[in-house]
Symmetry: C2
Subunit: 486 residues, 2 copies
C-alpha cells in the first residue's frame, strides 16, 4: 500500500512530521531529537505514542538511539563513503551499440525468485493500485463509447488539463494544449529524438555520461550518434564541457535528465538549469528534458524543470507517471514547445493516439488530490530505502567503493574499486539470484563504467534485500585482484 495519509495512526502522524523535518533538513544528520517528554508535550500526545513513533523511525533507519543520551538523526551515508569523481567520457561522438545485456536485465525483472536490484521502478506494494483499479473500472463503465474510440493524437483532455494545473507548481504555466500525451516517457523521449532525426539538423545528440540505456538504444535505432558529456555525481551535466562541445561541433539536440538522473541520481542546481537553457538558446539547439523522476524529490521542494526557464520554446519537456503510480498504464507526456505541430503529426504517425481509458484514470487520480497524498508517502519510502541500500553498501562493499547519495529518485550509482569487473559481478550475482545493472550499459562505449553498478532501491527494505546487498559486497571483494589498479 504505502499510499495516502488517510488512515494513519496517531504515532504514525508524529513519525511522519519528524520524517518531513529530516527530509527538509530542519533536523540534520547527527542532530539530537527532542526528548520523549518534550515531544509528548509539544505534540500533545502520550509518552507511549512518541515512543512508538521513535521505534518506527529507528526501524526505518532514519534515527538511532544512543544509550544514556537520547535519539539522534542517523548520519547520512555520504559521511562514510567518498563520492565518485566527475565522469570523463571520450570527447568524440560514438555510434551507439548497447549490448544485449539490456534484454537479459529486463527478462530477469519478471522472475519472482530473483532479488530485484536491477530495474528502475518502485515495487507494486508502494503504488496506489487499488485506487487506480477503481478509477479505471469506473471509467470503463461510464465511458463505454468514448473509451473504445480513437482519441485525438494529443490525447486525453482531462489528463492534459491536470498536467497544465501541475505545471504551475513546476514554474512553467503551460496550457492543456501545450501537452501531447504518450505511452510513457519512453515514447515521449523517442518522439523527441525522432523529430530531431527527421529535421536532419545534425546526427549528434549530446547526452549525460553515464546515461539511461533506453535513451542510448533510441539514439542507436534512429541512426544518431551520442556525444557523452562529463557529469558531476551530484550536479549532473558539466556545462563548461557542454559549452565547448556546442562551440566545436553541430549538435542536433541536447538530452538531459536534470532531476535524479538515471543511473547517477544527480540533480542539476537551478542556476545550472538556467544556464543550460541559455546555452542551447544561444546555439539554437533543442533541449530534450527527461523529467521522469522529478516528482520523487526527497527534499521539500520539487526541482523546477529547465522548461521553466525556456523563453523560446526550445525545451521539449518529457515526463510520465511510470515511476510514481503505474508503470504498466503507460501514461506519459511531452510538452514540445515550438515543435508542437510536428510532434502531434509524429505521434499520430507512430501510434495514432494514446489509449484513452488508462490515461483518463490517471487524470482522475490527479484531479482527486490522491496523487499528491500518495507522493508524500512514496517519497518518504523511497528516501528511506535509498538510505538503507547506501548504508548496506557502505557496510558490506570493499574499501574504495564510492557512492553519491541522491536527493531523489530510487537509484544508487555505485563505483567499485577499479579492479572489480562489474560484468563478472553481474554474472555471479545472477547465478545467486540477484539482478543488478552493470555500468557499461549506460554508455555508448561498452568499455566505459566497467567498475560501476546501478542498484535499484525501489523495493521495500527487507532482510532479503539486505542479504542480497551483503552478498554483492562479498562477491565484489572476491573479484578484487590482489594488487588493485589505481
Amino acid at each position: 500500500m504505502g499510499a495516502g495519509a488517510q488512515s494513519l495512526k496517531l504515532y504514525e502522524s508524529v513519525a511522519e512530521r519528524l520524517k518531513d523535518a529530516i527530509a527538509a533538513g530542519t533536523l540534520r544528520p547527527g542532530e539530537r531529537l527532542p526528548s520523549v517528554r518534550q515531544l509528548s508535550a509539544r505534540e500533545r500526545v502520550s509518552v507511549s505514542t512518541v515512543l512508538q513513533a521513535y521505534v518506527q523511525l529507528e526501524s526505518q533507519g532514519l534515527i538511532e538511539t544512543r544509550p544514556q543520551s537520547g535519539h539522534y538523526v542517523r548520519e547520512r551515508v555520504r559521511l562514510r563513503l567518498a563520492e565518485p569523481p566527475v565522469s570523463r567520457p571520450p570527447v568524440s561522438a560514438t555510434p551507439v551499440t548497447v549490448s544485449d545485456l539490456v534484454s537479459h536485465l529486463y527478462r530477469a525483472s519478471r522472475e519472482p525468485h530473483i532479488v530485484q536490484l536491477g530495474t528502475a521502478w518502485p515495487a507494486p506494494e508502494l503504488l496506489p493500485t487499488r485506487r487506480l483499479s477503481r478509477e479505471l473500472g469506473q471509467l470503463a463503465r461510464e465511458q463505454q463509447a468514448e473509451g473504445v474510440m480513437y482519441d485525438l493524437p494529443a490525447g486525453s483532455k482531462l489528463l492534459r488539463q491536470q498536467l497544465a494545473k501541475r505545471s504551475l507548481e513546476w514554474g512553467c504555466a503551460l496550457g492543456a494544449d501545450d501537452f501531447i500525451t504518450t505511452n510513457g516517457a519512453s515514447e515521449a523521449v523517442h518522439l523527441c529524438l525522432s523529430l530531431v532525426a527527421a529535421a536532419r539538423s545534425g546526427d549528434t545528440i549530446a547526452i549525460e555520461s553515464p546515461a539511461y540505456y533506453g535513451t542510448l538504444l533510441a539514439i542507436e535505432s534512429l541512426g544518431l550518434k551520442a556525444l557523452e558529456i562529463p557529469c558531476h555525481p551530484r550536479h549532473g551535466m558539466e556545462l563548461d564541457a557542454l559549452e565547448s562541445a556546442l562551440e566545436r561541433r553541430r549538435v542536433a539536440a541536447v538530452l538531459v535528465v536534470p532531476s535524479f538522473s538515471n543511473p547517477v541520481g544527480s540533480c542539476m542546481p537551478e542556476d545550472n538549469r538556467r544556464r543550460l537553457v541559455e546555452l542551447v538558446t544561444a546555439h539554437d539547439v533543442p533541449l530534450i528534458e527527461d523529467d521522469i523522476y522529478g516528482d520523487l524529490h526527497f527534499g521539500p521542494e520539487r526541482p523546477r524543470p529547465c522548461k521553466a526557464f525556456d523563453t523560446r520554446g526550445l525545451v521539449m519537456l518529457c515526463g510520465s507517471f511510470s515511476k510514481t503510480i503505474a508503470p504498466g498504464f503507460r501514461v506519459g507526456f511531452v510538452a514540445p514547445g515550438r515543435f508542437r505541430e510536428r510532434m502531434e503529426l509524429l505521434k499520430f504517425t507512430q501510434t495514432v493516439a494514446s489509449p484513452l481509458l488508462t490515461h483518463a484514470a490517471v487524470a482522475r487520480f490527479l484531479e482527486s488530490g490522491g496523487y499528491d497524498r500518495h507522493l508524500r508517502g512514496l517519497r518518504r519510502n523511497l528516501a528511506s530505502q535509498v538510505e538503507h541500500v547506501a548504508h548496506a553498501v557502505a557496510e558490506h562493499f570493499p574499501q574504495g567503493t564510492r557512492v553519491a547519495l541522491p536527493s531523489g529518485g530510487l537509484l544508487l550509482w555505485v563505483q567499485l574499486p577499479p579492479s572489480v569487473d562489474a560484468h563478472a559481478l553481474n554474472a555471479r550475482a545472477l547465478e545467486a539470484g540477484i539482478s543488478i545493472a552493470p555500468g557499461s550499459i549506460f554508455s555508448a562505449r561498452p568499455d566505459s563504467y566497467r567498475n560501476f553498478i546501478r542498484l535499484s532501491c525501489g523495493q521495500p527494505w527487507t532482510p532479503r534485500i539486505e542479504d542480497a546487498v551483503a552478498t554483492l559486497g562479498r562477491m565484489a571483494s572476491g573479484l578484487m585482484t590482489t594488487a588493485p589498479r589505481r
Copy 2:
C-alpha cells in the same frame, strides 16, 4: 449495438441466414428469393415472420420487391458503375511529403456536427463496447498489482496465446512467442519500418499506389522514400511491376495491405500472395504485411495473409483490433518472423511495452468466443453499409464516376470524372459539414489522385448519410468543367 446474436428475434434470425447466403454468394445478385410461403415452411416459422424478415432486408438495401413477381437479391452496384483502371504511379522513388490535410481530416473526425465519411473506422454503435467495458473493469479489479506494473516488451501473454490460436485459421500456425503486441497496427507498421530503416539496407520502400497516408507519413518521418507500385482496383499490387522494380533497384522492404487495402479496398488473390512471397524471398527483401482489415471479409472465407506462404521468416505480419472492436484500446500486434529479436528491442526502445489491462481485456473477449460472434454481425453490417454508399454514389454522382466494390473492409474508393478537383470538393464538403478524404493524401506525390476521394462506410446507413452522399454528388457535378478533360 450490432454485437452478437444472443438476443435476436425470430424474424431477425431468418434475415441473418438469408444475409449469410447473400454474402456467401449462395444467393446471387438478381436471383429470386424463395416465396414467403416456401420459406415459412422451410424455416418452420409463420408467414408474418418471413414477411418481417423480408421487410428488414429490403430496408437494409439487400433485397428488392418486384410487384407481381416476388423478392429478389438486389443487383450489386458493380453492374452499374465501371471500376477505376490500374493505377499508374511514376516509376521513380519519391521523398514523401503528405500535406497537413491529414491533420485537418483527423480533427474533423471529432466534430459531432460533421457527417463522418472521411475516416476509416466503424461507428461505436457497431462495436461491442459494453462487453469490453465489462472485461476491462473486471481485469482492473482482479489484476491490480500486475496491471500497474510494466509488462515484458512482447506484451500480454494471454493476448499472444489467443493470437496464436487464431493464426491457425489464417493458415499460419504461429506460436505465442512469435508475436509482439503493439499500440495498434500503426505502431506495428512503424516498428517494421524503423527496423528496416535502422538496418540501412536501402532507403526505398515499395508500396501500393494509392497507399494509406499514415504509412506514407511513417516513411517520411523515418527519412525513407516511397516507390509506388501500380495497383489493380480489385487485386491490389501488380506483381509484374513489382518484379521489375525489384530487379531495377535496391528496395529495403515491400509494404502491402493485401486484404481490403486502404484506400482502394482491393483484395489480392491467393495465387498473387504466394507469388509475392516468392518474389521477396528471391530478392531477400522483407515484406511488411499490414493485415488490419483481414477479419472484415464479406465473403465466407477469411483471406489467408501472405505470412501463410512465408518459409523464410521474411514476412512481418501486422494487425490490430482497431477496425473490429476497439480503436481506442490501441491493441495491435506484429509477428516479425526472423526479425523477432531486433523487433523486441525496438519495441522496448520506443514504448517499453504495451499497457497490460486493455490488451488483456481484448484477449478475454477473444477467449470467450465473443469476438467471432461479434465479427459475424459487424461484417454483415459493413457489407450492407458499403453497398448502400456505393448505390448512392451510383445514383447521385456525375456520369463518368468509377467505383470498384470491395469484398471486405469499410472503404469506398471513388474515381470522379477527370475534371473534378477533389481538393475543391473536399473544401466545399467541409463547409457543408461533410468530411471526406481527398485522393491526393494517398500518394507521396501531391498531384496524384486529384480526382479521387475515399468514402468511409463505417457509419450505419441513415437518411443523414444518404443526404450527405447526394450532396457530394451534386457538388461534384457542379465542379465539372463544361469540357471535361480525357
